[in-house]
């Protein structure tokens, strides 16, 4: 009796239309509404907040809609609220 399997990209496909937290390989994070993605996990995000840590300083940028290059993505957290909520 095989356990029902969900492939990683199937999980991400289920997240389309909902908020997602993207953690990059470098000190960068994005939170936005996932609109779509492709085989390279390049992602289209809406109503995005970019979090960037440079040493001690943290930069926050708001963006309406972006196409994020999948090359530097490390982790995806479905429904994630971003670093501010996770750490508090």
């Amino acid at each position: 009796m095989a356990a029902p399997q969900l492939l990683p990209l199937e999980l991400i496909d289920k997240c389309i239309g909902s908020r997602i937290w993207v953690v990059m390989k470098s000190e960068k994070e994005f939170v936005g509404t996932l609109q779509g993605f492709d085989d390279y996990v390049n992602m289209v995000l809406k109503d995005v907040t970019e979090y960037e840590t440079k040493g001690d300083t943290k930069h926050v940028t708001s963006l309406k809609q972006i196409l994020l290059n999948g090359n530097n993505i490390c982790m995806l957290v479905p429904g994630g609220q971003g670093p501010t909520v996770a750490c508090s």
Partner: protein
């Protein structure tokens, strides 16, 4: 169903922003603002009326600029 309709793949997004003003951030942190004249599947980008920002400060202006896709962190519609 409505979720399906709002689905927007990277290709759809790119087709939708051709000819518009865009904001491109590279992995190095350098930003470019300009009119997107063309691009391809590698995220290679050709911009017109390009402004180059380093640490948020305007450093240069170029009539035309080509950005090799591997350097692109994201492309944002303005």
């Amino acid at each position: 169903m409505s979720e399906q309709a709002s689905k927007k793949t990277p290709t759809d997004f790119l087709n939708g922003i051709l000819g518009q003003r865009v904001f491109v951030r590279l992995n190095s942190g350098i930003d470019y603002r300009g009119v997107l004249s063309c691009l391809d599947g590698y995220m290679n980008i050709a911009l017109e009326q390009t402004e180059e920002y380093v640490d948020g400060e305007l450093r240069n202006r170029y009539g035309d600029a080509f950005i090799r896709g591997n350097n692109v962190l994201y492309i944002s519609a303005l």
